[in-house]
Every structure is written in C-alpha cells, then in structure tokens.
Amino acid sequence: MKIVKIIAIILLVAFVGIQFIPTTRNQSDTVPSTDFMLVNNVPETIQKKLQVSCYDCHSNNTQYPWYNKIQPVAWFLEDHIKEGKAELNFNEWDSLSSRRKASKLRSIIKQIENGEMPLNSYTLIHNEATFTEAEAEELINFITQLKDSL
C-alpha cells in the first residue's frame, strides 16, 4: 500500500510539474491582408463555418478552450496546429501562387468530400465543427468555383 501511495505522489508531482513547461500558443491579434476571407469574396455562412471548423488549426489564431491549456493536452494540440498550419494556413492564403492555390483548393474539396477534415479528434470535442451534408455541399460548391476562377 505504501508503494502505491509513493507512486501516486510521484505521478502527481510530475503532473503538476509538467504544467510549468512552457508551450507556444498559437494566438495573434491581427489578421494579415493575405487572409483567405479578406482576398476572396466569401459568403457569410461559409466564413462562419471556416472559422469554427478550420481556423483553429489552419490559421495563426486558435480559440483555446480551458482544458487545452492543461498538459499534456496542450502538447498534443500544439503538434496538431503545427502540422495543420504547415499544410495550409488560411491567414497566408494570398502569398501562395495560383498553382499552389489550385492544389490547396483541390485538397480542401477532396478532404471535405471524404470526411477527412475536420479531424475526428477535433469534432469529438468541437461538435459544432462537423459539416452537415448541406454545409459540405455549400462549401464544396464555393471552393470549386474559386478554383475554376483561378
């Protein structure tokens, strides 16, 4: 029994301890002029949907719920955001060439079509990020149009 207690205490200390390890937070007050919403004429409903479903991992500004500030959850999240932004950062949209934009738009369409994005681990907590069939269709139509106009 004593051993169990000791282990519990050690683990508790470790848990508290890791809270002090700093993480990089993905937050920014400004929206750069290259932002996807600023350079494209995006209908309001789609703007809202993108903001809720995509921007947390694909922009420079994440809306953090409280539990995402706790380790090790925060690390898990940091990793995802880093990866997400490397693939596609909506804030830097207009810095891409037409070729790259077309590639990205194509990927967006495919991933929404196949239900690969938003990630399940994300929609599990952010229920509102899930796309209904109608929302998916609306977005895909818009993105297709945008791609064809490039």
């Binding site: 169990v4 519990a8 470790a14 090790p72 898990f76 070729r99 590639s103 194509r106």
Partner: protein, 200 residues
Amino acid sequence: MSKLKSTLGIVAIAFITLTVMSCKDNSKEQNSTDGDHSQMNHDNSDGHHDGEKKEMAMSGDSNAQAVLNDYFNLKNALVGDDNGKAKELGATLATSLGNFDASQYTDTQQSELKDIVEDAVEHAEHISESDIAHQREHFKVLSKDVIDMVAITGAEMKLYEQFCPMYDGGTAWLSTKEEVRNPYYGSQMLKCGKVQREIN
C-alpha cells in the same frame, strides 16, 4: 480509499499520456535527423552537379531528367496497382525534386520552376504516405506540374502526353512509351486513354 484510487487513476493516465508524448517527440527528432541526412545528400549531389553543368547546357537538363525518371518509376508503380512501391517511389521523387537546381535558367523561368517544384514536392510527399486512391489523386496534380516543368526544361527522350477522359473530369500524364498504360485505374482499365501530344 476509493478517492485515492481514482486520483491515482487520473494521474496514471496523465503519466501514460506524457510518456507517449515524449516517445512521439523522440521519433520526431529521429525524423529531423533523417531530414538532415537528405540535406547532406542534397549538398553532395549539388557538388556533383557542378561538374556536369557544362555538359548539361549542351544536352538538356540532367537535373530534370532525374526528376522525370523518378516520375516514370512512380507512374509504373501506379499502373501496376502497387501501393507500397508507389510510396517508396513517391519519397524518391520528393528527394530528386528537392535536389533540382534551376540556376541555369532565366529569372522568370527560375521562379516558375521553383513554384512547380514546391508544389510537386508536396504531392510526392503525400504519395509517400497515402493509400492508392489518394496517391492517384495527387499523381494527377503532380503530372500537371511535371508537364509544366518539361515545357521549360525539355527532356532528353521522346515523351508522350496521354489523356484519360474518365478520371476526375479528364486527366493527363506523361509516358515514355506510345501505348497507353493507365496509372489512374491500373488493371481496372489498363488501356483507357489516348496520346494527346508528342514531345520531342
């Protein structure tokens, strides 16, 4: 007592997660060392290329030829429905694209080539980690990139631009042989398509 148990449970979960996370970090580090490796290869091959440069100006771009060869190997793997091989060859192609040296071209060509290569690398990398349906989706855009590259660099051998009207609203690819072997359908529709252009 049960309180202690549940606290213990929570803490244990936290600890396990932490351990898993640190493992992940480790594997990341390893990856980045791998990255350095390819960087080194890159540097080496750059030195190697310098020697070839004069010759290159005479008979096409051996740089682009390396990309083309890897592209054709990848295409053949897709024709053969070989997901695993296509993964490997996608990675190989990503490396040869990374080694691509555009310095012999004009500024406009260089920026266009840089754009093409950047896009193509991304698709090649995706191919190296996807299932075959995804690989084919990426191969479509990759093919467009490579066709645009050839328009600037030229090629040492005769090439056939082939076209399949059925795949994703119509899709092109390059081949060294005239007879059609469809990389988008493989054995499912091996001969679907036609030659739409001859290069060289």
